[in-house]
């Protein structure tokens, strides 16, 4: 016997628009984080420790400092960002709030984009604080518009795939270990492109050296966004 679709007249559904749902998730994450400061403070302290350790471990002259800056910066961003990604999804899972989110009458990719944008904002805030500190410690000028663009594109790609993989990892008991194991191999090509583009901007190379890496960054961002949009619903559903 099949269910008769006419047996109950559908009740008119109310649901927010895609952008309203994305905005609600972002605002919720920002309000929660600015109250607890758990995530930002952990990311910032970790980033600070990494650049201090590199500063003391590598005794570099001015030329060498310029050459390794891009690598040190991206290692710092990636490890600090991974802390944030892990925590961001753990907050949803610890009190089972993820179920509360998934019960909302919205396209579930809106929840993904809300979480991803909040993670991106947190990462950019930490990067904005770390850059001047790095500039002072290493005596390198980092305020180059091209470098800022690369940092935004690289961070976007990183949190795009990172948020998706953090959602996968959050269901596992070993989520803290699982996320870096899943994430780092996937983001290696993105990181190589980000480091090369950053390095080219810092060494004031002409745009013909920058474009290949910049294009690669843009392509990776598009691929990661498309994959995440298409798969998030399947990842969160039992």
């Amino acid at each position: 016997m099949s269910v008769k679709s006419t047996s109950v007249k559908p009740i008119t559904a109310r649901a927010p628009s895609f952008l309203q749902a994305v905005g609600a998730v972002v605002r919720k994450d920002l309000a929660s984080e600015f109250r607890s400061r758990e995530l930002l403070s952990a990311m910032f302290l970790f980033a600070l420790l990494v650049i201090l350790i590199f500063n003391f471990a590598l005794e570099l002259n001015a030329r060498e400092r310029g050459e390794i800056t891009a690598g040190v910066l991206w290692v710092t961003f990636v490890f600090a960002g991974q802390l944030g990604l892990n925590r961001s999804m753990a907050i949803e899972k610890d009190r089972n709030c993820l179920d509360g989110l998934l019960l909302a009458p919205v396209d579930r990719s809106a929840i993904y984009f809300g979480k991803m944008l909040a993670n991106l904002l947190f990462m950019l805030i930490v990067e904005a604080i770390v850059l001047p500190i790095y500039s002072i410690l290493y005596n390198v000028n980092l305020f180059h518009p091209g470098l800022i663009l690369v940092i935004i594109l690289g961070s976007l790609g990183y949190v795009t795939i990172g948020t998706l993989l953090a959602t996968m990892a959050v269901y596992a008991r070993t989520r803290d270990i699982l996320l870096p194991i899943l994430l780092f191999p996937v983001v290696v090509p993105l990181l190589i492109a980000a480091v090369r583009a950053s390095s080219a901007f810092l060494q004031n190379l002409s745009m013909e050296f920058v474009w290949p890496s910049l294009n690669l960054l843009i392509v990776f961002n598009l691929i990661f966004i498309a994959v995440s949009y298409m798969t998030f619903d399947f990842i969160v559903e039992e």
Partner: protein
């Protein structure tokens, strides 16, 4: 309001629901009772679109799952033993967030009404992590009805509540269900189920093994009805 036909849910080789049929009319309060592992929570997770059925047909409020899941979710309020609330947000901020996720119009007024209903108006600006278990569960009721849903799914809502908090939850549930909402509640607390529900369905071994209306069960007769059904269900297993 809820129609389920031949519902099967399996995890790997393990069948949790084995061709379950279930129907609820608008305004009914159905208590779904059964032993641990009978599939009650799995069934409610499928009804709430958190889990996908392996086979079978599920319709709520005229919408079919899983294809019209978002429309179904707009008609559902879900309350479980976990409050699904954010500890670092205040009671008001939690309701504001969930209200936005359901596109509730005139949200500020609605939040006031809901906080009044669950008796937390004076604590509206306090962080949820400072609330007792009972207060969190009351706020969770507020979260589940903020969008005025037609169907309420309650999964063991009394777990971990003390006597005072339980009777407060009773009052709140009676208030929210008095308005003609359809309710399905799983519970191990037969006395409470007998007090609240208009129908009792016993879920055992992945199917509805028996069903009875409140009027057909004598006072204090629910336990006997439950035991009789479960024992009948278990006998073939003992023989085989």
């Amino acid at each position: 309001m809820i129609e389920v036909r031949k519902l099967i849910k399996r995890f790997g080789l393990k069948y949790v629901l084995r061709g379950l049929d279930f129907e609820v009319e608008q305004g009914e309060f159905v208590a779904l009772i059964g032993p641990n592992g009978a599939g009650k929570t799995t069934f409610l997770r499928i009804l709430s679109s958190l889990s996908r059925p392996s086979m079978g047909e599920v319709m709520l409020a005229g919408y079919r799952l899983p294809h019209q899941a978002a429309a179904v979710r707009s008609q559902l309020g879900v309350l479980s033993h976990q409050p699904l609330l954010y500890g670092d947000l205040s009671a008001e901020e939690n309701l504001t967030f969930f209200g936005r996720m359901y596109a509730v119009s005139d949200l500020e007024t609605r939040i006031g009404e809901v906080l009044e209903l669950v008796g937390l108006k004076k604590r509206r600006r306090d962080l949820v992590r400072t609330f007792s278990r009972g207060m969190q569960q009351r706020l969770a009721i507020g979260r589940s009805v903020i969008h005025d849903p037609q169907i309420l799914l309650l999964d063991e809502p009394y777990t971990g509540l003390d006597q005072d908090a339980s009777s407060m939850l009773d009052d709140v549930l009676k208030a929210v269900t008095a308005e003609g909402r359809t309710v399905v509640m799983t519970s191990h607390d037969l006395a409470r189920a007998a007090d609240l529900a208009s129908r009792f369905d016993i879920l055992s071994r992945g199917v509805i093994a028996a069903s009875a209306l409140h009027a057909d069960i004598p006072p204090d007769g629910l336990l006997a009805f439950y035991r009789r059904t479960i024992n009948q269900e278990e006998e073939p297993a003992l023989v085989s």
